[in-house]
Amino acid sequence: MDAQRPRWQPLQRIRRLLQRNADPNLARIKRRKALYALIGRRIAVLRLSLFFAGYIWMLAIPSSQLDRGVYFDENAMQPAQVNTYWSWKEVHDADRFLDQLELLRDSNATSEQRSQFIANEFRKIGLAASTQSYEFTGVNKGINGSNAYAILSSPRISGVEAMVISASWISRTNEGDGTLNLRGVATVLALSKFLKQYSLWAKDLVFIISDGYMDGMQAFLSAYHGQTQSNLRAQALELTSGVIWTALNIDYPGHSLSHLGIFHEGPNGRLPNQDLLNSFQHIARRTGVPVVLYDHRDDLEYLHWLPENIRNHREIRTYFTQARNLWRHIGYQASGRGSGVHGLFHQYRIDAFTMFALPAAGPHGFHSLGRIIESTLRTTNNLLERLHASFFFYILTNSDRFVKIGNYLPSAILISVAMMFGGLQVWVEAAWAKGPQEEAKTPGAAPMTWVKRRRPILEVLFIMVFTHLFGAMVFFIMSSETYSYFQLAPFLLFLAAYALPLTIPAITPQKRSEAIAPLSLVLKAFNLCLSSTVISIITVLNFSLAACLAVALGIPLSTASSSSTKAVQMVKYSTYVVLGLGWILLRGFAERMIWNWDVLSAWLLPFLCIVYFPLTLQVALVCII
């Protein structure tokens, strides 16, 4: 039928083009050449448009055009299909537990006493309970504590799988500023008493009250999974259960709650399966408690400078609300630390999140929270396999909306492609020089012509390897014990890292023949290609980090060039070194990163030192060689 219809004009032209050549291979080669020539001619426009598209795309991620509503993918979960029986009696239990916990707090009980008390309460309920003490050595010597935990074996089936209900002693308020999570702990205690009445658990229930904010759970999970951490001395667990599939972390620092906030980011960019979050928010809504992402209430005070009618426009409001969520998300994900205790579970392929009770005067409390947790546990109890159906790669822009991987990934990839094109362009440029024509036989011909020249690959590779080794050295200095003792250490390290590479131009031969390309060009080409590759790879591991890299490296690396005057060279060099290593002078930031690496094994510190800083150092060297 379609054979009779006139074809689309360009298609026909292409077809004719193809038919003219009898040899298809020849045609293919010609096509390829034509394409390359086109790219070569338009490379500047192409790069610019790729950068432009990439950055615009990044800015568009929070808009409501790219996201969609969440939905369930796992049939087995059946969220919000059960009657809940958590009632005022259980609320009363929780209140009594809270009274006792407050007594402990007021009497300045030690970790040991606290965990003993909690384990005893578990035993009184009739559960197998125990405590686990732990201590970090090395850089963070002071961190120690004692976890309490209890296991409710599934009544009718062998406990090969387990679900965790946990609360950390210190709440996540302001990323663990010391606010106690007393109500969260009381909720877990009351829940353990309440859930024991049921015989329908198909999985073991593990109740964990971890000490500290993140450190206690890190110690517990390391011991549970037999993971050894060189700077952690954790007592072996007396009681163990099966493979943990899901974990709910309860954080209830205030007196009452108005909203429940979802915190879901794990360390090093890991995210839990979206089905878990979706079913939780579905259940919470059904129960009548509004759900928000993070601890944002829906007020955008920072927009007050905008005119009223623009500020209240639906699309604008959505954009800014979602942009704020995205900003939080990037902060948590890129830092590699995650957004709370739940993140530690992700290391062991356990889907977990924190339900954060936003402190408020009301109207909700233990009653709603307990019912939501009961229903959520019934849902996770229904699981037959690990959560696998829904999404692992997503950006939640709101509690009930998300961006699929295909709608956010290209933004960083486009920038990385632009960088790759830039690198290849420089690589090609390095091979050619405008030189005088060797044998000008005809006097009328052009006096200048393109001359091919050698590209010094080996030297450049040496320089690059050196920069990465140098970065590794910086990393080992930063993660050493002595580094944190000296107040001036960051400053000295920065100076050293600034000054030492300055010797490189002295070592490298300055004067070279015209037949060899300048080192800086080849170095730049390699640097751009490597950065582009790094960004592309990181996008799927940790998109937020990749987006940050794309922003930090994209334009700066592409615009680097050597200059003739020494002063301009030094200014450029300094700028790039500050871009690459300036963060170690930010005391709080660097300290937190060292802590994250040391205690939680977050990869951001080694990544910045061994990958990111060397990349900027290479481009800094491009300017001075």
Binding site: A76, Q78, L200, L384
Partner: protein, 396 residues
């Protein structure tokens, strides 16, 4: 041994006689999906089980296949029970349940072997479909399906062609008289679209491209407890008792599309008997709630069918009125290996479009001239006696 030639016409005669009415009822009830969240499929099959048992099919004639044990699932708050309604008034898993195939025994292979009778010698009688050419079989399938397939156990499927071929083998092997095929799954009507053997009446819960929906949840059990189509079938069947004269047309016209949520279908073009009185069935699939007409395949043939109306109790429940005249050697349960008779499952000689005068070769003569049956019987019996006595006398 000279009587042997006599036995053949006798057997043939008895075969044709027996076609008047079935002498035994069988039911094959299959829930093909496992897992706790498919509780409702177990409940569907158990609901049917209860109904056919109540209407008189004994456990020995019911093959119940349950792919999972919802009653003893560790997530079941009411362990040992399966309920099909939110109030949990009736425990379908009561005290007298015989599950013939359970758990991982419910496979496509076992299902097809059961139908065609190709089972190992070691398989007990309770797991065999010991039907003969006088058996009416009710076959009920439920589970997750799609266009022309039904999923078994989350790892294999039976296709509509498989079932159609199995039925044809059964037909050729003389393993049924009539089959009533009911299926409740998504796109269920596609499951019977490939049948080509005679005397099969089929109905399904939903047209192609349409889901079959669950009916109700029990919020203590925490899952949907029954599917909509099966729920309304069972609800209707509560009106039926062992002596009921309700016809299949009554059952089919009770389908209420807005309530069920999907468009059930009927296929009667292979079935030679009328479904019931013309007036209610004539409007089947038309009017309120029906999206498209045509969910009844065989509407055109229906006015030309001249026979006994198909009663619900023909398939559900025991034999109420046995035609004594036709009662013959039906005790031969042993299966004749199909390979001896059937070279291959050839396309059917039976052409549905020609069945405006539904005359299958084995029955037409006597249907038109019923008085012949008695006289022929007397004639043959007389001949037999004469022969036997003649032989004895001559030997003396």
């Amino acid at each position: 041994m000279r009587f042997l030639p006599l036995l053949f016409p006798l057997a043939l005669f008895s075969y044709t006689l027996a076609s008047q009415q079935h002498t035994n009822n069988w039911a094959v009830l299959v829930c093909s999906s496992r897992y706790w969240f498919n509780y409702r499929h177990m409940a569907n099959a158990l609901g049917m089980y209860r109904t056919v048992k109540r209407l008189g099919i004994p456990d020995s004639n019911i093959i119940l296949m349950l792919a999972d044990d919802a009653a003893c699932n560790d997530r079941n708050k009411f362990s040992g029970s399966v309920y099909a309604n939110p109030g949990r008034h009736l425990d379908l898993y009561g005290d007298n349940i015989e599950v013939d195939y359970r758990g991982y025994e419910v496979t496509v292979e076992n299902f097809l072997r059961l139908l065609t009778g190709r089972l190992e010698d070691s398989v007990p009688r309770s797991k065999r479909l010991l039907t003969d050419s006088n058996s009416n079989i009710f076959i009920y399938l439920t589970g997750h399906g799609g266009n022309e397939f039904l999923k078994f156990q989350d790892n294999e499927e039976v296709s509509a062609h498989d079932i159609a071929d199995a039925f044809h083998q059964m037909y050729q092997g003389g393993r049924y008289k009539e089959i009533f095929f009911m299926v409740d799954t998504c796109q269920a009507n596609s499951m019977y679209s490939k049948f080509y053997s005679p005397n099969i009446l089929a109905t399904g819960s939903s047209v192609v491209g349409e889901n079959s929906y669950s009916h109700e949840n029990d919020y203590d059990i925490g899952v949907a407890v029954i599917d909509s189509y099966t729920h309304y079938i069972l609800e209707y069947m509560e009106k039926v008792n062992k002596t009921s004269r309700l016809t299949m047309a009554d059952l089919f016209t009770s389908y209420d599309v807005p309530k069920i949520g999907s468009h059930p279908g009927v296929r009667s073009d292979l079935f030679s008997r009328p479904l019931g009185p013309q007036h209610p069935m004539a409007s089947y699939g038309r009017g309120h709630g029906w999206k498209v007409e045509g969910e009844w395949t065989g509407r055109e043939q229906e006015p030309y069918k001249r026979d006994r109306e198909a009663l619900i109790t023909d398939f559900f429940g025991g034999v109420v009125s046995v035609d004594v005249e036709g009662e013959c050697e039906s005790d031969d349960f042993s299966y004749r290996p199909a390979s001896e008779e059937i070279s291959k499952p050839s396309p059917p000689s039976f052409n549905p479009s020609l069945s405006s005068h539904p005359k299958s070769s084995s029955r037409s003569y006597f249907d038109s001239f019923p008085f012949l049956r008695a006289s022929l019987a007397f004639f043959l019996l007389g001949l037999l006696f004469a022969f036997a006595f003649g032989g004895r006398i001559s030997r003396r």
